[in-house]
């Protein structure tokens, strides 16, 4: 299958278009089938993926707007491979998880298919304009999901989500155009191909500005402090499936952008900005962890803890060494699985009680033991307990950054402690003790649909926690390629000094 990436992008969209013809009652089976096929295709991609080959695989190229150098250019490497698999997997889980009584179920299901197209598209395109295209297009289905199925303040939340990301990415678009112009000046050819941009060595002051433009786009999406204010609203108002996909995949677009664009394109600026970005990340980690502790709404708690972990992802990325970047990519995947699962779990209790306030619960462990067990495992994974999936990425990210700065890493490490505090105390409030409310006494434990979504996630959490190698190895190879590219491209003295120091100090000794 030479065109597997195109198939992966457009299969859900075409299926979504055809889906309008299908009867309301049958559409659920249809969409589940489509999402399963898509997931199997992405697994096939993984199987066919050659771990030993550096660089992009499954490349596809066609000219789209030759007058302006815009191409249809696709490819995956170890970094994007797993995020693509994660996207298709989480979409499938999200589709299965939709309760039967969702209003306008057909529209929701078809919207999810369109969203899946844009998500896969973002991660496999290697042309900047195409990347921007899918990036922006992903806002529209999400706007609809939050706005049409969300809570009472859904319109405000969805518009805020749209405008924040839209504004940030337009600045990024200007950055892309400047980049293309610089490439044109250097080579005489228009191109938006990322692979060709990689070869361009830019003067330091250009790098600073361009890094800033891209940073704004990505940082709003991640979302980094102080651009994070849209996310709690979006999560608070979104329906369960919206939150799951938002946390598991859409936020990864930002952190993926850092790895794919910021680091290899602007190595010197990346080195220059290590400390400011690390400080922002650490503020983000600690501050949102504290905010999470203050939440009474369990979904907001999960939302803030999700932001907090994204801080570690950014920190790991800007360690600029294979350990840190590999760790941060692994953490993206584990964060996708864990926070997706946590939002699903919150959705489970919300469907039963129609409230998300923690003091409404208490003693749930005795009423819903299986639910409590899965919640417990996910919470441990979120805190980063060894032998769960959360530990591997967090540990590697922090180890990576430890080479850059000991003090900053220790500060970031405190967040793990704060994370444990708020998670455990929330768990204690909701699950232990005696059942205080009468409504909670008759709650049913998980049903078949919920098992179908949560058990695969739980198994993944434990399996990849014990044996992360199948994921780490391909990621690590691609990351090493990026780091060595940065090393070659570095022009400032600072970067030339810092990059080897944080990467190769074992050999130096």
């Amino acid at each position: 299958m030479d065109y597997i990436l195109s198939v992966l992008i457009f299969f859900p969209a075409l299926a979504g278009l055809l889906g309008f013809l299908i009867d309301r009652k049958a559409v659920r089976s249809y969409v589940t089938t489509v999402a399963t096929i898509e997931f199997i295709l992405s697994l096939y991609l993984w199987i066919q993926f050659d771990n030993n080959q550096l660089g992009m695989q499954f490349m596809e190229q066609a000219s789209l707007i030759p007058a302006f150098g815009i191409q249809y250019l696709l490819g995956v490497d170890g970094i994007s491979l797993f995020i693509v698999v994660l996207s298709t997997f989480i979409t499938l889980i999200g589709i299965i998880s939709l309760p039967e009584d969702t209003k306008d179920l057909k529209e929701m299901l078809l919207t999810l298919l369109f969203l899946e197209m844009t998500m896969v598209g973002v991660f496999v395109t290697l042309d900047a304009i195409l990347f921007y295209l899918f990036w922006e297009l992903s806002l529209v289905p999400m706007l609809y999901i939050i706005g049409a199925w969300g809570g009472p303040k859904r319109v405000y939340a969805s518009v805020k989500f749209f405008l924040y990301t839209f504004a940030g990415s337009l600045i990024m678009l200007v950055g892309m155009l400047v980049m293309a112009y610089l490439y044109f000046q250097a080579t005489g050819v228009w191109s938006f191909s990322l692979l060709e941009w990689y070869r361009l060595q830019l003067p330091f002051d250009y790098q600073l500005w361009l890094f800033g433009a891209f940073f704004l786009g990505f940082a709003i999406k991640v979302p980094m402090f102080p651009f994070h204010t849209w996310l709690p609203y979006a999560h608070g108002q979104a329906p369960t499936v919206g939150s799951v996909i938002l946390a598991a995949v859409l936020l990864k677009m930002g952190s993926y952008g850092f790895v794919r664009y910021s680091l290899p394109l602007y190595p010197d600026a990346s080195v220059y900005f290590i400390v400011p970005i690390a400080i922002l990340s650490i503020i983000m980690v600690i501050y949102t962890a504290m905010v999470a502790y203050a939440q009474k709404d369990i979904k907001q708690l999960v939302a803030y803890s999700s932001i907090s972990h994204m801080g570690v992802v950014v920190l790991g990325t800007f360690a600029l060494n294979p350990e840190g970047i590999t760790g941060s990519i692994f953490l993206m995947i584990s964060h996708g699985i864990v926070s997706g699962a946590l939002f699903l779990l919150v959705g489970v209790i919300y469907d039963r009680r129609h409230t998300k306030m923690m003091d409404e619960f208490g003693g749930l462990a005795s009423v819903m033991p299986r639910y409590a067990l899965i919640f417990g495992i996910m919470m441990m994974a979120s805190v980063g307990l060894p032998l769960t999936i959360g530990f591997v990425g967090e540990f590697l990210s922090l180890v990576g950054f430890y080479k850059v700065s000991h003090i900053l890493t220790i500060l970031a490490g405190t967040a793990v402690v704060v994370g444990a505090i708020y998670m455990l105390s929330a768990y204690k409030k909701a699950f232990f003790g005696t059942v205080t409310k009468d409504e909670n006494k008759k709650l049913l434990d998980l049903n078949g649909r919920e098992y179908a979504t949560l058990v695969p996630l739980t198994l993944l959490v434990i399996f990849l926690g014990v044996y992360p190698k199948p994921v780490l190895e391909p990621v690590d190879n691609s990351v090493k390629a990026i780091v060595s590219l940065m090393h070659q491209k570095a022009i400032t003295d600072e970067a030339k000094e810092v990059i080897p120091e944080i990467n190769f100090n074992e050999e130096a000794r």
């Binding site: 789209l64 707007i65 030759p66 007058a67 302006f68 304009i129 921007y132 295209l133 922006e136 297009l137 806002l139 529209v140 706007l143 609809y144 706005g147 049409a148 859904r154 319109v155 969805s158 518009v159 749209f162 405008l163 839209f166 504004a167 337009l170 600045i171 678009l173 200007v174 155009l177 400047v178 293309a180 112009y181 044109f184």
Partner: protein, 496 residues
């Protein structure tokens, strides 16, 4: 006794005039038919208009580039041909909007269609000349026809709109005449290329007079193109005209205006006199930003679209100010793509035309009217939603490519701040387009109607036009390259 003027017919090069003559002949034929047999159905006149416009298009496409004709007042360069094509194609797409299912006062009169063709000819004259007098004649022919078309709608609002437009237009004409007078007084010519030759030779002295002439010219076209701060008539005129005509006003007169501005200001900007650029810069930034901010608070979709077209015009003015070949061909790319989407948006309003005060005592198309439209008429809502997010500049739909190209041309010409202002304005504009999307998709219907209001004025040909607009908007990613090749060729041929 006057000496006999002795010129050969060949030297007149009448070929340059044929496109306009076809349109004018079309108008006259319609009038003659009306004389011979009255009370014919509008469908005859609509079809005749389309036929004549198509012939007009054929004559335009057949023109050779870079020739002069008719005592050298006609000047057919690349952008003259290109803009005539845009004008004719847009007119051809707008005139079938007359096939509405409801009865309208204006379409009872064959004169409406005759005037429409005269107006098209007027716009064609405007863009196909570099003679200040012929430009003025074209401008006035077109404008006077347009005022009449507007008033034929026969509502209080449309009288108000037409009078407002007429007064402002008269003032603009005055400014134009005054400015031409100064240019003529300074240089002894009304031919633009000669004017700039003479001004160049005398090193743009006396500065003060040139400044006055430039300001008058800018004000004149500021009124015509509704640039801030000369825009005040715009939204009222849109509100008072029928949606079909408002859509037309937002596209065709503006492209004609842009071409003239391009011709006049190209020379002034290249003169190296900095204040021309400063003034234009201020107008551009004000137009984009203020129109966007005013659009945020509108409660009527048509008024919102009026401000939105003002803001889009600001984008194009930015490109005129930049003045590189890339920017100038970007103008046509932008306007062609914008025309399809705006045609769709206004056609959608036109289709939902229904005169009652159910939703709002003043406005025909308040946002509330579209609340919950997706539940009542999903296909219409999806189309309108498509047009709105396209106007907001969401890729891969049409307007995005225009914006991309214009912002890129700003970057390439070292106008980085302007590029950022354009980007930020796109972000602001997203809000008011989204507002309609939010009403259509995320709110519940206000009245308990069955959605027939959204199709109250629909007919087959209106639906076809909507389909065409939506189709071209959706697949524009594949159109960009051919359009770009086409526009770049013509623009480069005329040396802009």
């Amino acid at each position: 006794m006057l000496e006999a003027v002795n010129i050969s017919f060949e030297s007149l090069n009448m070929a340059t005039l044929i496109p306009m003559l076809v349109a004018i002949a079309g108008g006259l034929v319609i009038l003659v038919i009306d004389l011979l047999k009255s009370d014919l159905d509008k469908s005859l006149y609509v079809t005749l208009s389309i036929l004549f416009l198509l012939m007009d298009l054929g004559a335009t496409v057949g023109l050779d580039i870079n020739q002069r004709g008719f005592f050298d007042v006609m000047f057919i360069d690349g952008i003259a041909i290109l803009s005539q094509i845009v004008i004719i194609v847009a007119s051809t797409l707008f005139i079938p909007l007359a096939f509405a299912s409801q009865k309208f006062h204006e379409y009872k009169y064959p004169e409406f269609f005759a005037l429409f063709l005269f107006m098209t000819a007027g716009f064609q004259f405007m863009v196909a000349s570099d003679n200040l007098i012929l430009i003025f004649v074209g401008l006035e022919t077109a404008s006077l026809s347009l005022y009449t078309l507007m008033v034929l709608h026969n509502k209080d609002k449309s009288f108000e709109a037409a009078i407002k437009y007429f007064t402002m237009g008269a003032m603009a004409a005055g400014f134009y005449a005054f400015s031409s007078m100064i240019f003529y007084g300074l240089t002894g010519s009304v031919e633009l290329y000669k004017i700039f030759e003479v001004l160049q030779a005398r090193d743009f002295e006396p500065m003060i007079l040139i400044l006055v002439a430039t300001i008058f010219m800018l004000a004149s076209f500021g009124f015509k193109l509704a640039l801030v701060p000369f825009h005040t008539w715009g939204p009222d005129v849109y509100e008072g005209s029928s949606a079909a005509l408002a859509g037309y006003i937002s596209i065709v007169p503006k492209i004609a205006g842009f071409v003239v501005v391009m011709r006049i200001f190209e020379g002034l900007i290249n003169s190296g006199v900095v204040w021309v650029e400063y003034i234009l810069y201020a107008v551009v930034v004000l137009t984009m930003t203020m129109a966007n901010i005013w659009a945020l608070v509108q409660s009527d979709v048509k008024r919102m679209l009026a401000y939105s077209s003002i803001s889009h015009a600001g984008f194009v003015m930015a490109a005129i100010m930049i003045g590189t070949t890339q920017a100038n061909s970007g103008i046509f790319l932008y306007w062609i793509l914008f025309a399809f989407t705006n045609l769709g948006a206004f056609a959608m309003l036109w289709v939902s035309h229904k005169r009652d005060a159910t939703y709002h005592e003043r406005f025909d198309h308040p946002f509330e009217k579209f609340a919950g439209m997706v539940k009542l008429m999903p296909i219409g809502a999806v189309m309108m939603g498509l047009f709105m997010i396209t106007l907001a500049g969401v890729p891969p739909f049409s307007v995005f490519w225009g914006k991309l190209y214009l912002i890129s041309s700003a970057v390439n010409a070292d106008y980085l701040v302007l590029a950022l202002i354009m980007a930020i304005n796109s972000a602001i504009s997203a809000y008011y387009y989204l507002k309609l999307v939010v009403f259509m998709f995320l709110k519940d219907p206000i009245s308990n109607e069955d959605g027939s209001v959204y199709m109250a004025n629909a007919s087959l040909s209106l639906k076809v036009i909507l389909g065409i607009a939506a189709f071209f908007t959706a697949i524009s990613i594949f159109l960009v390259n051919p359009i770009l090749d086409f526009t770049s060729y013509y623009v480069a041929m005329s040396g802009f």
